[in-house]
């Protein structure tokens, strides 16, 4: 795993009264333990990876508490884990990145919510929406509505988040319904503090095992029980949930002197709203607002009485609801009409329908809202602020003269996947560019410059499946790229098995780097065996053949495993796979261990050997500045952060020359590319002998008689 959580594990053990300091998602983890969970599962992905990562690393402590931790192979298996709470009074939580994870989990979630739960069941969803999002922009809210899963959207401060997790379990049990705790990216990563409570060991756990439940048809999501369960959800569980939410005051009402108006806001947006009100001069630094605010820590279900009593007597209410469609607004509108409360309801008419709600957008919306309903209010400060921001941006644009080049994420220095795309770019010159169906994972960085490859991305492990209907219509065979993470998440069944069943003719390129790397190098079923991961930092992934064996077991005939750094061989293999007369699925397993893991092993070893005075060979690549002509074709085949340009030292030349800067790990791609693409003779490999032996020194002295080095 990329990150070690030693200090964080200690903070998970804090007892009553101690102050927990740390990240939001780790506060959630602590809250789960405080709530006495029996099991935790999930699938990693920003922004919730740390929850599972820390629990996996804290296995010993989890054992002590009797908590079963499972790193699931996908979100469907994580959601299905919650099935334990259907027939047993155990609390459990699972986590994943949403919307994508919820999509994958949807089938199990439908059945889970239909059957209902006995023990509290929580889904910690990392809502990857807005700035920094890496997935399709959709709302998890839709799933809550269609499956009747309750959804919490806590105010983003640690005490509130922790309270909502704890209350979430109670709500789940009070209404026999699984609960989603929805946390936005920044809320997961927010650093703050809260007063901890002691962890609780569950009554039923891995330490205290119980007897299997008896047969009860009403707990099966199977007809005819399903018909009764649907009614039960609406007639019993929903009212129970509303009762609990109202009684426990999960939603928070903040008073203000402008009682004729009000703002209803999703809890997660509360702090941004406060900033907007502050900018308008309507709130102070402590969140004391002149406009009354109703913060919905529970966004589904709403409690109709809460809404009507809040709105009654007001001229107008503004709802701040991020994303689309405007589910909450529709809900509130229905409630107000049915109860004939006459307050005007504003929402998406004044605010943007799509996209993240920034303070700037909120100031604009609030100005319109208050301008209409509190016309005597002086909102000049907000107006001036908006104007000045606009003015500064315009001035900056004028001074900069042109938009700045973007800086998207990129393959790491020494990433074993970069050479594959270099090989593909070289191979394309002869074979022409095929249809490339992309996938989720680090390899998706090949969609950025300098490779700019890919025709579609349809989800994690979906690349081969998404090429199924392309191949039969194209003159060239399509190429599907997939990581080993995607392969095990979904690709093996959705892609490989389906292609075999349908006798598809495509090429699948599997990146066998050994881990789910993009999310923090979590382990896979095909991760290299521990004893193969030696301190030399050499790639260890060849020591595991689970992917190749699985392919062979399914009946794939054409499978070739190629080390990614053999660029010329990779290029040949790609060309062959794309052009061979042989039909059927062809799989290239591109083998090369994730360099983050390799470096993690090698760095301390190198440091130890250097300190101990042992001989170490340090490798760095370089470019001879006097033979480089500055055409940068090497960069167009690499994009490595350490292969860059510098001013041309030759006073007669103008274009910058290529150069290799510090940070180069000597992966060798520069040399491989220079050969495979017949680039230029400027690249050299420098091997520095650190702590040289007597022999090294003697040879060097003799050599110096001939070579002026």
């Amino acid at each position: 795993m990329e990150r070690a959580f030693a200090a964080e594990i200690e903070s998970l053990k804090l007892g009553d009264g101690a102050v927990f300091r740390g990240e939001g998602i780790l506060a959630v983890t602590k809250a789960l333990l405080q709530s006495g969970v029996s099991y935790v599962g999930g699938y990693q992905g920003a922004p919730v990876s740390h929850l599972l990562d820390v629990m996996v690393q804290a296995r010993d402590y989890m054992d002590e508490l009797g908590v079963h931790v499972e790193a699931c192979t996908n979100e469907a298996s994580a959601a299905a884990m919650l099935g334990a709470s259907i027939a047993y009074p155990v609390r459990g939580a699972v986590t994943w990145k949403s919307i994508v994870g919820t999509n994958v989990a949807a089938d199990a979630l439908s059945y889970l919510s239909t059957a209902g739960v006995m023990g509290g069941a929580l889904i910690i969803a990392g809502e990857d929406y807005g700035e920094g999002a890496s997935v399709a922009l959709e709302r998890t809210h839709a799933y809550a509505l269609k499956s009747q899963l309750w959804m919490l959207d806590p105010r983003p401060d640690l005490p509130t988040i922790v309270r909502m997790v704890e209350k979430g379990f109670e709500l789940s049990e009070a209404s026999s319904t699984p609960v989603i705790v929805d946390l936005r990216i920044r809320a997961c990563h927010v650093q703050g503090e809260f007063a901890a409570r002691a962890n609780r060991a569950a009554a039923l756990s891995t330490r205290h095992r119980g007897a299997p439940a008896g047969f009860d048809y009403e707990r099966l999501s199977h007809p005819p029980a399903t018909f009764r369960q649907e009614k039960h959800k609406i007639e019993v569980r929903l009212p129970a949930a509303r009762r609990f939410i109202a009684e426990q005051k999960l939603n928070e009402s903040f008073p203000g002197d402008l009682e004729g108006v009000g703002i209803i806001v999703q809890g997660g947006l509360y702090n941004t709203l406060q900033r907007a009100l502050h900018l308008l001069g309507l709130a102070n630094a402590f969140g004391e607002s002149r406009v009354p605010i109703l913060a919905l820590n529970v966004v589904y279900p709403l409690v109709p009485e809460e809404i009507t009593s809040y709105c009654a007597g007001k001229r107008a209410v503004l709802l701040l609801e991020e994303g689309q469609p405007e589910f909450i607004e529709q809900d509130i509108a229905t409630t107000l009409r049915r109860s004939d409360v006459q307050a005007r309801l504003h929402g998406k008419d004044l605010m943007a329908m799509a996209g993240e709600y920034s303070a700037e957008l909120m100031v604009q919306g609030l100005r319109r809202f208050l301008g209409e309903h509190e016309p005597r209010l002086d909102l000049g400060g907000g107006a001036r602020w908006l104007e000045s921001v606009d003015g500064v941006r315009k001035r900056a644009a004028a001074l900069l003269g042109a938009p700045l080049p973007a800086r998207p994420p990129n393959f790491c220095i020494g990433c074993p996947e970069r050479p594959v795309f270099a090989a593909l770019k070289i191979a394309e010159k002869k074979t022409g560019r095929p249809h490339i169906s992309g996938d989720i994972g680090c390899h998706a960085f090949a969609t950025f410059e300098p490779f700019s490859m890919g025709n579609s991305i349809l989800g994690y492990g979906m690349s081969l499946a998404s090429a199924a209907a392309v191949g039969p219509m194209m003159a060239k065979r399509p190429l599907a790229v997939m990581g080993d993470g995607g392969f095990w998440h979904n690709g093996l069944l959705s892609g490989v098995a389906s292609s075999l069943l349908n006798k598809g003719d495509a090429v699948l390129l599997v990146m066998k780097n050994g881990y789910a790397s993009a999310t923090g190098t979590q382990e896979l079923i095909s991760s290299p065996p521990k004893d193969a991961r030696d301190a030399s930092g050499r790639s260890a992934v060849h020591a595991d053949r689970t992917i190749e064996n699985a392919l062979a077991g399914l009946g794939v005939k054409w499978v070739k495993t190629v080390h990614t750094y053999h660029v010329a061989e990779m290029q040949k293999t790609l060309s062959e796979a794309l052009t061979t007369e042989e039909g059927g699925l062809k799989v290239i397993v591109a083998e090369g261990e994730c360099q983050l893991e390799r470096q993690r092993r090698a760095k301390p070893e190198v440091a130890r050997r250097l300190a101990a005075g042992e001989r170490v060979l340090r490798v760095k690549y370089g470019v001879d500045e006097d033979t480089c002509t500055g055409d940068h074709s090497c960069i167009r085949l690499s994009g490595c952060p350490t292969l860059t340009v510098k001013d041309n030292p030759d006073p007669l030349r103008r274009d910058p020359v290529a150069t290799v800067i510090e940070g180069c790990v000597g992966c060798g791609l520069c040399g491989e590319n220079a050969h495979a693409a017949t680039l230029c003779p400027s690249f050299y490999r420098a091997e520095v002998v650190q702590n040289p032996s007597m022999l090294d020194r003697a040879v060097a002295r003799l050599r110096a008689l001939v070579v002026p080095a």
């Binding site: 922004p47 700035e131 920044r186 920034s358 080049p405 994009g639 050969h675 091997e687 020194r697």
Partner: protein, 485 residues
């Protein structure tokens, strides 16, 4: 007690792997240790993988115990026009902060390192795609309330630490944090590993920002050489390349331009000197085996004087390289055979030559010893003929319309690279020479010059030549390595 109206806001723009997260932790640590309510958030995600990433902090500069039960509400996202301290670990990222409105004259102290880490889009261009630094610096000075700008990477390297330590020091030294120096240093010390180096970097950043010591002077950009200097540099280069006679040939060619103005003579001489010292296998072998080259590699690889160094060169000579060395009648035959049969890159031999070893050195050096043979080689004959053709066009244009001659002279810049890159560049050059220089569609020299300028820009716009083909309105034919089916 009179409480401040708002929290102090700090936005940090960094690139993955620069320790932006650690710096945010230090700040949090220092603020919390002072008893100030503070909050930090970030958008790491995949941006950690070398992309641009941001960290955002708010600090309410009053001890919590004097607030009673009141707790400041802090935003998780920065808003434009609302940032007190903008920190950028690299110049382009500072530019991005400016572009997004995070730096405003009424309140923002901008602390940015002036070094550049080029984005892929900048460095992959065929010519110079770098964003002009001066514009970012100028905008920074104009838009910030106070700007602390110096090369912090260099300083970090000097102190054996990471840039975040220097940035943190600069932040503290600029006097914008409600945290005394000791509190910041204590936070660094608490982080343990590497603390001593970090503290040195911190001190350097602090003292420069506080004006207690001078910032490292930016490396002076060499001025472009003047015409006289270009001619001298060119003659010296060619003397080194092939000897005195060759240098004299260069001088004679420059003299043949006549009195057409310094700029045109200078530009033509510059292009001519580069072209005449074309990179053939002899030249490459010569440059690769010089003492100065080995010294440079040693420097770039960071090898100590007592550390033995092995230098391995990646060479892949093929048919073209062989043909270029043969006498013209043989070389021409081999070359045209290879072109006809798509064999130009068919027989390249990939070699990893240990140039620092005795055998490898002698192998490469022996190629350099072929220098006296060069004037009798096929490539020499080819290059000289094309040089004369180009030079004649420049001279003819100079008489009509000097700006046109400048454009033609600049076309020689398209000839660069090796192997396929060189072939493509040459094809572009020949296409422009043929279509726009020697057979122009217009009699107006200004229009002709403009057409050439556009075509040249198009040739450099994309490596697939599509832009040039669109500009010329016809395909650019060049020798592909294999026959297309």
């Amino acid at each position: 007690m009179n409480l401040p109206d708002r929290s102090l806001t700090v936005l940090i723009a960094a690139l993955g792997g620069e320790g932006g997260g650690v710096m945010a932790d230090w700040l949090m640590q220092a603020a919390t240790a002072r008893g100030y309510p503070a909050q930090a958030t970030s958008i790491p995600g995949v941006a950690q993988r070398t992309g641009a990433t941001t960290y955002y902090l708010e600090i309410y500069p009053v001890r919590r115990e004097s607030l009673g039960r009141r707790e400041p509400v802090m935003s998780l996202t920065p808003s434009p026009g609302n940032v007190d301290v903008m920190v950028a670990s690299e110049l382009l990222e500072a530019g991005r902060a400016l572009q997004n409105g995070y730096v405003t004259p009424d309140r923002t102290t901008l602390i940015a390192s002036t070094h550049r880490i080029y984005a892929t889009a900048e460095k992959m261009q065929m010519a110079d795609g770098r964003f002009p630094e001066e514009r970012v610096l100028d905008a920074a000075r104009q838009l910030a309330k106070h700007a602390v700008l110096f090369d912090m990477r260099q300083l970090a390297q000097q102190h054996g630490t990471v840039i975040n330590a220097v940035l943190f020091g600069a932040m503290a030294g600029a006097g914008v944090l409600p945290l005394p120096r000791e509190a910041c240093e204590a936070a660094i010390r608490r982080s343990g590993r590497g603390a001593e180096a970090s503290l040195r970097g911190f001190a350097a950043g602090f003292e420069i920002a506080a004006g207690e010591r001078a910032a490292p002077a930016p490396a002076a950009r060499a001025l472009p050489p003047a015409t006289r200097e270009i001619i001298d540099l060119g003659a010296a280069r060619l003397r080194d390349y092939q000897g005195e006679a060759y240098a004299q040939l260069f001088l004679a060619r420059v003299a043949s331009m006549g009195d057409v103005g310094a700029e045109l003579v200078g530009e033509t001489a510059r292009a001519l000197a580069l072209w005449m010292s074309y990179e053939d296998i002899i030249r490459v072998a010569d440059l690769k085996t010089r003492p100065a080259r080995f010294a440079r590699v040693r420097r770039e690889a960071g090898a100590g004087d007592d550390e033995p160094l092995h230098v391995i060169d990646h060479l892949k000579p093929g048919v073209e390289e062989l043909a270029s060395l043969l006498p013209p009648f043989l070389g021409r035959r081999l070359q045209s055979w290879a072109e006809r049969n798509g064999k130009l890159d068919a027989y390249n031999v990939g070699m990893r030559v240990k140039t620092s070893g005795v055998f490898g050195y002698l192998l490469v050096r022996s190629l350099a010893w072929l220098k006296p043979w060069r004037p009798s080689s096929y490539r020499y004959a080819e290059e000289q003929a094309l040089i004369e053709r180009w030079l004649a066009a420049v001279r003819a244009a100079a008489a009509r319309h000097p700006p046109l001659a400048l454009e033609i002279a600049a076309c020689a810049g398209l000839l660069k690279g090796y192997g396929e890159t060189h072939r493509r560049g040459k094809a572009n050059f020949l296409a422009i020479l043929d279509a726009l220089v020697e057979n122009p569609a217009t009699a107006d020299p200004a229009a002709q010059a403009e057409a050439i300028r556009k075509a040249r820009a198009a040739a450099l716009a994309d490596p697939e030549q599509r832009a040039l083909e669109r500009t010329l309105g016809r395909p650019v034919t060049w020798l592909r390595t294999e026959k297309t089916r």
